[in-house]
Symmetry: C2
Subunit: 190 residues, 2 copies
């Protein structure tokens, strides 16, 4: 069974990944490295950069995941800085910014960057979950902006779903699934 480092300090993300990974012949181990995360406009750039940086310390196959909530009416805010915005103004702040705003379209996006010594460069995998911002904070599952995000075709927020149910729609799930699909395929061809 292949072991891959998941470079993150976020135990919630790691638990979400475990749900996904259980279907594949892969084990993940958490590597809570503290590296430089660049300020940048794109999750792709940030994830690639962090994967390259972590590879200098670990030297073994690893993934980095970066994700964000992008709200149409707020020009993509909080976007790449979602975790900082969550820690400061939180869900309440976002709802206040969205007060009386009729266009509530938003999406969650996750980018997984995979680094391995045998690859010429970092491989990127993306997952997007379209949805909308709720009118109030609902639910207590999940983390971050889950209590104010309703995925398309549903009425509940992510925070009103179990981890398994959320994984059916989750951007993080989609990004990691496409990575794991690719990885299994790649390993078969070796």
């Amino acid at each position: 069974m292949k072991k891959i480092w998941f470079v993150t300090g976020n135990a919630n993300k790691f638990r979400e990944l475990s749900v996904i990974a259980s279907k594949y012949d892969v084990t993940f181990e958490m590597a809570p490295l503290k590296g430089i995360e660049p300020q940048a406009d794109s999750l792709e750039f940030i994830a690639s950069f962090c994967a390259e940086e972590a590879s200098k310390t670990l030297g073994e196959p690893l993934v980095v995941e970066d994700s964000g909530l992008f709200i149409d009416a707020l020009k993509g805010f909080p976007g790449v800085y979602s975790s900082y915005v969550y820690k400061t103004i939180g869900c309440e702040g976002i709802l206040k910014l969205m007060k009386d705003v009729s266009n509530r379209r938003a999406f969650f996006k996750a980018v997984v960057a995979y680094w391995s010594p045998e690859l010429p460069e970092v491989k990127l995998f993306t997952g997007i979950c379209q949805g909308r911002i709720s009118d109030s904070i609902r639910g207590s599952q999940g983390f971050g902006f889950d209590p104010i995000f309703i995925p398309e075709s549903r009425e509940e927020t992510f925070a009103q779903m179990s981890r398994e149910e959320k994984s059916l729609y989750s951007h993080r799930y989609l990004a990691f699934s496409s990575f794991l699909h690719w990885l299994c395929d790649y390993n078969r061809k070796l």
Copy 2:
């Protein structure tokens, strides 16, 4: 006359600096380098990091300045990410977040990082301007959050003041002044 690179892509900052520098025997030249700016909790860390990075390209005395608006009631938001927050939700967004909030205390903080080949490490200089968030957008001078920031002991926002008047209170002015004071003193001792 000593020449120092000011690493910035922001022409407004450069113009503000020119007002300050005119009183000292120093010339600044704008170096619009595009480097990695790290995500971090402190302006000090960001400015130091960027100065070290820029030194690898320029190899000559240089300054980097980073600044932000820290609002008490929003746990310091927008803080180190002020420029991103300005580009997305802008002054309107901040006023919306501050609607019905009675504690309007805030401060602008600037950190100047100076790198020079003869120094053992980057030197930091800080400037803070205490004040409050206005109830509405007022004035058209300056840039960024100037139209919603009222410095202590005044009634006008930064955007209602001329560049010269703003410089009497400005965090950036204070940080650069303390740098220039130190520099002249240092050069005298050589």
